[in-house]
């Protein structure tokens, strides 16, 4: 396990290094972040009482989670009453197994999928591929990263790191026809290419933004319409849903659907919002003959009983990524998992194990920008600090690091010791200083400088400056 954890951390640092060294990628992240942030702020400013709306979301999420067992039962009953089928998956393996078995039962060779972070989380595509079933992503962003064999770079814009030329190159591998590097032309090609898939797929898989307990209904929102196609055309519709997606009744959708599109894309409403309750009713209408809802736990219930419960309030708007100075520099892939940014830094260690991702809670400046913009008012920086405490308590930070920190704490408590240490450090570290920083440290410093620059001790301490200025003024 320790070796695996070390590998995760090494990959994290390598990815940071790679992202920082790629000027095109740096510019792309910045431009996208600025654009999204600008739209989000405009949309929020237009609505009176924006903070009150977010408060309402937070209250609703908190209430729902506190009674999750009851709402989940109510949802299951109502879904079944409407003709839907429900399956409870304790973990990723059970969820994948259910979908694979269903695919075999339907003799499906092609599955179309709408964007679902949960699907990425449980690694459904590899499971289907191993079973000989082709699953094709239809959200344009997911389609692009599926072609590139990459993880999502952003919760909402999975391919937001790709330039026009890179996307064009990926698409050209699919067709002998000439594709000009123009967004509209590439989008038109994707429409043609994927339309055939929609019309021939036996199963459509989507995520679930919210699930209404009182109706047994699924709420699905997309801007492109691929969610509608996946849920309308194939004869079987499979919904992947995290246990925490519930909302008590239809009235609860008002704050959620008011805040989510504004926080996500700066829109008053997402292009398509569907409320789906059960399969098709009559022969006159279209839509799937079967609706299967796979309710996935995969480590979520374990979080419910801890002080980390508020992280399950998340409605996946992605605003914390768009406002994070760390994400702005290191991008989404450096987080080494499906969820990136501040939400990922908290959620990934909780879902996948703190021992594997002990480095993630430290990938933050704790500036609090994420707290400010969070749609559900999750205290992300508090949770990051709690996780750091857990890392220390569980002794996951390494012996050298622990001793170093303990020594540092001891020195800061004793002024004389501090003065002596500063003087010593100024002399001892001098040979390694380049332009005011130590970039490659020795001994215990190496672990620090592997991910950050260590500032050189300035020639005059604050105390010395204070003394000098106090005398001169």
């Amino acid at each position: 396990m320790a070796a695996l954890a070390e590998r995760q951390r090494a990959a994290h640092l390598a990815e940071i290094e790679r992202t920082l060294g790629d000027p095109v990628l740096q510019q792309t992240i910045r431009t996208r972040q600025d654009n999204r942030r600008c739209l989000q702020r405009q949309a929020a400013a237009e609505l009176p009482d924006w903070q009150a709306w977010k408060e309402a979301v937070a209250d609703l999420r908190s209430h729902t989670l506190a009674h999750l067992d009851a709402y989940l039962g109510e949802f299951a009953d109502n879904l079944e009453r409407r003709g839907g089928q429900i399956f409870f998956a304790a973990d990723a393996a059970e969820a994948c197994d259910y979908v694979v078995r269903l695919a075999h039962a339907k003799e499906a060779s092609l599955i179309v999928k709408a964007k679902s972070m949960l699907s990425e989380e449980i690694c459904l595509n590899p499971a289907l591929a191993a079973a000989g079933v082709q699953a094709i992503e239809t959200d344009l962003g997911e389609f692009i990263i599926q072609l590139a064999h990459e993880r999502p770079f952003h919760i909402l814009g999975p391919a937001s790191h790709k330039t026009l030329e890179q996307i064009c190159e990926l698409f050209r591998e699919l067709t002998p026809e000439y594709l000009p590097p123009e967004p509209q032309a590439l989008a038109a090609f994707a429409r043609r290419y994927l339309r055939e898939k929609f019309l021939s797929a036996e199963i459509g898989i989507t995520g679930c933004n919210f699930a209404v307990a009182s109706e047994g209904a699924i709420v699905l929102i997309t801007n492109e319409g691929n969610g509608r196609l996946c849920s309308a055309l194939p004869p079987t519709h499979v919904v992947l849903m995290g246990i925490e997606r519930l909302v008590p009744d239809l009235s609860g959708l008002e704050p959620l659907l008011t805040v989510l599109p504004r926080s996500a894309n700066g829109l008053r409403a997402t292009t398509y919002t569907q409320i789906i309750s059960g399969p098709r009713r009559s022969d006159r209408e279209d839509g799937p003959r079967e609706l299967h809802v796979v309710v996935v736990d995969n480590g979520r219930s374990r979080i419910l009983g801890t002080t980390y419960r508020p992280i399950l309030h998340c409605i996946r708007c992605g605003a914390c990524l768009d406002n994070c100075p760390v994400y702005r520099n290191i991008g989404g892939h450096a987080y080494g998992a499906v969820y990136s940014g501040p939400i990922g830094a908290v959620l990934t260690p909780l879902l996948e194990g703190l021992d594997l991702y002990a480095h993630l809670p430290f990938a933050s400046t704790l500036c609090g920008a994420c707290d400010d913009v969070c749609s559900a008012r999750i205290p992300l920086t508090d949770l990051l600090l709690d996780l750091r405490r857990d890392v220390v308590a569980q002794r996951l930070s390494g012996r050298g690091w622990e001793l170093g920190m303990r020594g540092f704490a001891e020195i800061t408590r004793h002024p004389d010791l501090w003065r002596a240490a500063v003087r010593l450090a100024r002399l001892a570290l001098k040979p390694w200083v380049r332009e005011g920083f130590i970039r490659r440290g020795l001994g215990p410093l190496r672990r620090w400088t592997a991910g950050r620059d260590f500032p050189a001790v300035p020639p005059k301490s604050f105390r010395a400056l204070w003394r000098r200025d106090a005398y001169t003024s």
């Binding site: 814009g157 967004p183 319409g225």
Partner: protein, 206 residues
């Protein structure tokens, strides 16, 4: 996992949780002011039309249903659209262009029942056997909308759904503008999967 065991696991975790965690009641009393509450049908129509323009939707007002029919016919002639899918609508001008093959249609025509002024959203459902594909597969789609179906904001629509009781139709779809994506290099592209062109005719006296 078996349902009972699955739910029990959640219940056990909740019971072991932080006893200080406040259990809020759902905020049904939360009724925020919006700039559109209390407007007349005419006022809502003005807001709705402004939204359509921002979204790039071609919206016009027709005094009567007959006028709307004429306007739809004119559009079809102008654009030379031959194949129209419009389950349940048998207007002159539509009949001879009708196709059952929705995927091949040039234009889909749908009668919407409700719309939300604040966000410029059109609401359709499958209650009358309406096909989901009509407003989805063709490259262009049009909606007729009775002005009386305009509500101020989302909450008003949700309350109507609750009042109308009876089970929800299999699918309610809220549509706000043309199908859009910014997944290609952050540039807004239209018509990626759904229709890239949307028309709306508001019928005043219906």
């Amino acid at each position: 996992m078996e349902r009972r065991a699955f739910v029990k696991r959640i219940r056990d975790e909740l019971a072991g949780g932080d006893p200080d965690e406040p259990t809020c009641e759902p905020t049904t009393a939360f009724a925020p002011a919006t700039p559109y509450s209390g407007r007349s049908a005419e006022g809502l129509q003005t807001v709705f039309l402004a939204r359509q323009e921002e979204l790039g939707v071609m919206a016009t007002v027709a005094a009567t249903r007959r006028q709307a029919q004429t306007a739809v016919g004119q559009l079809l002639d102008e654009r030379d659209w031959h194949l129209v899918c419009s389950p349940g609508i048998s207007w002159p001008g539509i009949e001879e262009r009708r196709t059952e093959h929705i995927a091949a249609a040039d234009f889909g025509l749908v009668e919407a029942r409700w719309a939300i002024a604040e966000s410029g959203t059109i609401v359709v459902d499958t209650a009358d056997g309406e096909r989901r594909a009509t407003s989805l597969l063709p490259p262009a789609v049009g909606f007729t909308l009775p002005r009386s179906g305009l509500v101020a904001r989302l909450g008003d629509l949700l309350r109507q759904l609750v009042q109308n009781r009876g089970p929800l139709p299999a699918c309610i779809t809220m549509i706000t503008g043309p199908s859009a994506s910014a997944d290609i290099a952050g540039v807004r592209t239209l018509g990626v999967h759904g229709p890239g062109e949307v028309h709306v005719w508001i019928i005043e006296n219906e």
